[in-house]
Amino acid sequence: MRRKPGRRLKRLLGLYLPLAAFLFFALFPFYWMFISSFKANPELYNLRANRLWITSPTLDQFRDLFAKTVVLQWLWNSFFVSFLTSMIAMSFGIMAGYALARLRFPGAQAFGLATFITYLVPTTLIFIPLASVVQRLGLSNTIWSLVITYPTFLIPFCTWMLIAYFKSIPKDMEECAMIDGCTRIGAMIRIVLPMAIPGVIFSAMFSFTLSWNEFVYALTFISSTTHKTMSVAVPTELIRGDAYFWGELMAASLLGSVPVAVLYSFFMEYFVSGLTAGALKG
């Protein structure tokens, strides 16, 4: 079978050119972030040089960043909060998701509906009163204010994600286990959970990313430099009035972006399949 002559041209125009345009649009900001953080200031602000390339790469910006700020503390805060909240959300999400997928009880439907609705409630709708709740709990200006509030938007997500996974697992196996003397919760932990691992990993990772990226609550509840998370510390601590230290800002942005990008690249298969499989099942 011979290829039609127009086919390659058609593929170029219909596939590769638009794809290249989309890739450029999506990735150029990251390239610019990367390249800006490895330039020294004279090169960074030199309008006559070729600005899209580095002639003398340097770690100056990172050195300044580590010397002048507590960036490691911010990274640790982000990690601590994200890890803890994704674990909490994961556990509560597994429990609630299993209950909704398998058990029949009065109020189950209402609870399902409520989780779905809370999944949609934007954080900007309630951040003002939540600040006073956090204050009354004595948690203002601590990272614990984030640890308790982040699960409110993570749990609905995890629950819905896991309902879809649990429902795809055949009931027979856990029923057998229960006939053999396993309790319902024992069967859930020993039989169903291992089979839902892809869903569990995906939900945990996605929760981690959502926590790592959260901005509104962290900006509202926390004011001390040392308690801030990366996503808020970089734009608020590194911009002082009208002075923008772009090299340091980009270096810090890179440091804050790399952890989620790495996490994501390790589990990309889970991620893409998880998104395409479950994201819209709710």
């Binding site: 649009f25 509560f92 299993y98 934007p122 309630i126 003002i128 009163p129 901005f215 972006s257």
Partner: protein, 305 residues
């Protein structure tokens, strides 16, 4: 008797077995942590938001009940009216852009190509990376003096003089729209791709044998079958964009002269910067009708399927 009953039980404490034997009790036990957390930190703050919006509370003082005064004051405030208008412009244009570009990108990604997974992964990056940090990069890209966007556009001859991306009211709105589209496009593309993959190949083969060209196949097969997914994605994105905060907060802070002020940024400025918490709460609550409409439409859509 007791010993026989005990022997019959294979394992576990008696009360635990009785407890877990009941589906209802197990169900309530399993959902209780989630319910507790969401009641205290989501439902209660929402009620509190309504209450605060009916008071003249300012930072440091509890304030007193003033009825709908905050809402009435806002409706007459020209800045608030502009905020409402900006929010609609911002939401409508970005959702439209994301939808159209999202369908195109999904159609591209659905084809066979080398390194397909790598490309899909790379295109998802804007959605994964912390928005506040990537928006800082855009802020640097739109810098009044050193804008790399201007550098590239001038170099290519697309523009003849520098665009003041964030300094000009019109271009500031264009800028936040571009960045929001950049950030949200991957979600659209991946969700729509998932929708595309569920369309049976046989339909296209049948259309092919009937002589339908690619364009007609798109309008008569792809789009109608993709429509439910498009609707759901559009509704999700509408509420997220309407309530968006960080892109505008970091890129323009609502400026210049409030040209990009939207609900959430104005609520933040009024409540936490100016300290008028009652009024700020009222601004936030204007998001609620939009949320309600989206929820009702979504539930209708999902129920029909």
């Amino acid at each position: 008797m007791a010993s026989i009953a005990h022997a019959e039980r294979p394992s576990g404490l008696p009360w635990l077995r009785r407890f877990t034997a009941s589906e209802a009790l197990t169900g309530y036990f399993l959902i209780s942590p989630a319910v507790f957390l969401m009641a205290v930190l989501l439902a209660y703050p929402f009620v509190l938001a309504v209450w605060i919006s009916l008071t003249d509370r300012v930072l440091g003082e509890p304030g007193k009940f003033v009825g709908l005064a905050n809402f009435l004051k806002l409706l007459q405030d020209s800045l608030f009216r502009q905020t409402v208008w900006n929010s609609f412009v911002y939401t409508f244009s970005t959702v439209l852009l994301k939808m159209v570009l999202g369908v195109i990108l999904a159609l591209i990604l659905n084809q066979q190509m080398p390194c397909r997974n790598l490309i899909r992964g790379a295109l998802l990056l804007p959605w994964i990376v912390p928005t506040s940090l990537s928006v800082l990069t855009w802020l640097w890209m739109f810098d009044s003096l050193f804008s790399i966007v201007n550098y590239i556009l001038l170099g290519l001859g697309v523009i003849s003089r520098k665009v003041q991306w964030l300094g000009d009211p019109f271009w500031a709105m264009v800028s936040v729209i571009i960045v929001n589209t950049w950030r949200g496009l991957p979600f659209f593309a991946v969700s729509l791709l998932a929708g595309l993959m569920t369309i049976p190949k046989e339909l296209y083969e049948a259309a092919e044998t009937d002589g339908a060209r690619a364009g007609r196949q798109f309008w008569h097969i792809t789009l109608p079958l993709l429509q439910p997914v498009i609707a759901v994605v559009v509704l999700f994105s509408t509420i997220w964009t309407f309530a968006d905060f960080q892109i505008v907060y970091i890129l323009t802070h609502g400026g210049p002269i409030n040209a990009t002020q939207i609900f959430a940024t104005m609520a933040y400025d009024v409540a936490l910067v100016a300290g008028r918490i009652g009024e700020g709460s009222a601004i936030s609550l204007f998001l609620f009708p939009a949320l309600l409409v989206v929820i009702i439409l979504l539930l209708r859509y999902l129920r029909r399927e």
